[in-house]
Subunit: 215 residues, 2 copies
DNA sequence: TAGATTGTTAATCGATTAACAATC
DNA sequence: TAGATTGTTAATCGATTAACAATC
């Protein structure tokens, strides 16, 4: 089992070497990836082990091959479907950002309790009423849910998504969701992050600030 | 020096016990906080050590006292000022969320390159043009910056903020910022988080899923 | 070849958990 | 008192880094 930290870094590595590929580069050394991502070269080499991709001591890693190997781990060979619940400012920001960006990880439906949004297309995605949530999630085979709803609604929505087959949640609501053990939850809590930044801005970033505090 | 993880959990503990206080409760046990936050009771007790607040074996922790002790660590005795750069959907979502919520941590200015936004009040915060960034940050004494700008603009904006005295950045742009060692950066990378959730949704949440993956 | 980089193990580091005497 | 909880140390656990033979 690959750790969540390694998965996050592989995603980051893929992004930076994709940019290199766009500049027509063909090979890259671990220390270059390391510098671009704010980690150590040893970390990069170790993270790349589970991908099975081998570099060469003389030329480093072949970029297209490495992208393919990382994608072999990160991407579903089929297609993974995502639904987003809550189409406020935050929900729309996420919809706008993902507009046709990842072919293997697509947002297929949006949900909102606000009747004025239901039935409309928002950034190319159809918006349904929350009462249709379970039906649509089941029919589409959605596996991942993004929660951008108010805190008070989050647990009920999470329960419904999970009941309809969702096994991963990206939760922006400032509450600790209770979920069965087979469901993976990642919390992106902006308020907590901001308090942390404020604390370390005041108290000094600290020696350990080589490391990226990536959340 | 308290670790970033501990700071994040203290912020979470304060939130949940504040909710208890609102329900007129006066005392709380470590295992109650632990359950509400998805951590172990031992973790809670250990995290509370640096606050200096002492509980009682018979009644647990006094809630108002504990809130005060946690706030003594998390909050600046003065006031800490925050600026947000980039008033798109994401920026507005954050402005709306923080509207008058934290007296000790206030967003005092917003900036955007879009001339049509400049001069307006957005969720109660004045929006300036980016060319005024350094001046306003210096004059207001802003210490923390939130970056909700496109990736290509992030490094230049970060440099300018830091040049004007900012020592902490909450970065939503999908780039690894290069900053001097005294500056604390926390990255909230939605794309990476979503890929991580997708991966663990597919591969099983794993045994280690007791722990909250809080970012 | 000489020199830099790779894959991979062993050592280190830091954070979490278990344990338990002291306490109410 | 008896029983549960506290503060705190020691043991455990996992992740990062250092090191180095193998390789190009």
């Amino acid at each position: 089992m690959i750790s969540d930290k390694t998965i996050g870094r592989l995603s980051l590595y893929r992004r930076v070497i994709s940019e290199m590929l766009a500049e027509a580069r063909t090979h890259v050394y671990s220390h270059e990836i390391a510098k671009a991502c704010g980690v150590t070269p040893a970390q990069v080499r170790r993270d790349l082990m589970p991908t099975g991709h081998l570099g060469s001591p003389s030329r480093g890693y072949n970029i297209p091959g490495l992208i393919q190997s990382i994608s072999g781990i990160l991407d579903d060979p089929e297609q993974e479907k995502v639904a987003i619940v809550g189409v406020g400012n935050l929900g729309r920001a996420i919809l706008a950002y993902f507009m046709g960006r990842r072919p293997n990880l697509t947002i297929v439906a949006a949900f909102d309790a606000d009747a004025s949004k239901v039935g409309r297309m928002i950034h190319g995605i159809r918006c349904y009423g929350t009462e249709q949530l379970a039906d649509v999630v089941r029919k589409e085979g959605v596996e991942v849910g993004i929660l951008t709803v108010p805190a008070r609604a989050a647990q009920a929505i999470a329960d419904e998504l999970i009941g309809a087959g969702v096994r991963g949640l990206l939760n922006f609501a400032p509450v600790a969701l209770r979920v069965p053990p087979h469901v993976y939850v990642e919390d992106l809590d902006v308020a907590i992050s901001l308090e942390r930044v404020a604390y370390f801005a005041r108290h000094g970033a600290g020696t350990r600030r080589q490391e990226r505090a990536m959340r």
